[in-house]
C-alpha cells in the first residue's frame, strides 16, 4: 500500500459546485496535513495547513482531517473557474527536531467550467 493515495481525476464540475478532494494515508505517525494548489506551468503553492484532526476553514476552502480513518479532505464551496488547478495533498510526521520530509499525493486535476 502506498503511503499516500490520491485519486488523480480528472474532476470536472460546473461553476458554483461544491468540490470534494480526498487523500488516504497509511502512516499513523503523520500529524501535519497540507493542501498545495498547482496551476498549469507553475510550481505548487501552499493552500491549507492543518495539524492533527479536525477542520480548518479559510474563505471558500475547508480542510478536514480524520486521523481515525486516515483520511483527509479539501472542500471548495462555490467553485470558480479560477479554482481550476491540480491539488496536491501532503503530510509529514512530527519528530523531536521538527517534522520529517513531506510526502505528497500524486495530485487531483480539477476543472471548473463556467
Amino acid at each position: 500500500q502506498k503511503e499516500v493515495e490520491q485519486d488523480p481525476g480528472p474532476l470536472s464540475v460546473p461553476e458554483g459546485a461544491i468540490v470534494s478532494l480526498n487523500c488516504t494515508y497509511s502512516n499513523s505517525a503523520f500529524q501535519y496535513f497540507m493542501w498545495y494548489r498547482q496551476y498549469s506551468r507553475k510550481g505548487p503553492e501552499l493552500l491549507m495547513y492543518t495539524y492533527s484532526s479536525g477542520n480548518k476553514e479559510d474563505g471558500r476552502f475547508t480542510a478536514q482531517v480524520d486521523k481515525s480513518s486516515k483520511y483527509i479532505s479539501l472542500f471548495i464551496r462555490d467553485s470558480q473557474p479560477s479554482d481550476s488547478a491540480t491539488y496536491l495533498c501532503a503530510m509529514s510526521a512530527k519528530t523531536q527536531g521538527g517534522s520529517e520530509k513531506l510526502v505528497f499525493g500524486k495530485g487531483t486535476k480539477l476543472t471548473v467550467n463556467p
Binding site: 488523480p8 501535519y32 497540507m34 506551468r41 507553475k42 510550481g43 505548487p44 503553492e45 501552499l46 495547513y49 496536491l88 501532503a90 509529514s92 521538527g98 517534522s99 520530509k101 513531506l102 505528497f104 499525493g105 500524486k106 495530485g107
Partner: protein, 113 residues
C-alpha cells in the same frame, strides 16, 4: 512575497552532458529542496539542504548531486544526463523548523535527448 526563481523554464540537453539547474530564493530561508515531478509519480524529493554546505539525500538522489555555497542559492547537478532524467524539476525553500510550508519556484522542464 517570497520569491523562488529558477534559471531556466525549458532546457534541452544531450545524453551524457553535465547539466546545472540553479535556484535562488530571496527570503533568507534556511531550507532548500529539489524535487522532480513526473506524471503518475507525483513530486519526489531529490535532495534537501538545511544550511550552507549542508545537504541530505531525498528519495531519489541517484544520478544527481547538489551544491549550496550561499544561503540563497541551491544548485542541482546532473553529472551525466540520461533520458530517464527528462522531467519537470522544482526547487522550493522554507524557513528552518517550517519544513511543511514550502515555497516553490516555477519549475524547469528538462528534456534529455
Amino acid at each position: 512575497d517570497v520569491k523562488v526563481t529558477q534559471s531556466s523554464r525549458y532546457l534541452v540537453k544531450r545524453t551524457g552532458e553535465k547539466v546545472f539547474l540553479e535556484c535562488v530564493q530571496d527570503m533568507d530561508h534556511e531550507n532548500m529542496f529539489w524535487y522532480r515531478q513526473d506524471p503518475g509519480l507525483g513530486l519526489r524529493l531529490i535532495y534537501f539542504s538545511y544550511d550552507v554546505k549542508m545537504k541530505e539525500k531525498g528519495d531519489i538522489p541517484e544520478g544527481y548531486s547538489v551544491s549550496r555555497e550561499k544561503k540563497e542559492r541551491f544548485s542541482l547537478i546532473l553529472e551525466s544526463a540520461s533520458t530517464n532524467q527528462t522531467s519537470m524539476y522544482l526547487c522550493a525553500s522554507s524557513l528552518r523548523g517550517r519544513r511543511n510550508e514550502q515555497y516553490f519556484g516555477p519549475g524547469t522542464r528538462l528534456t534529455v535527448t
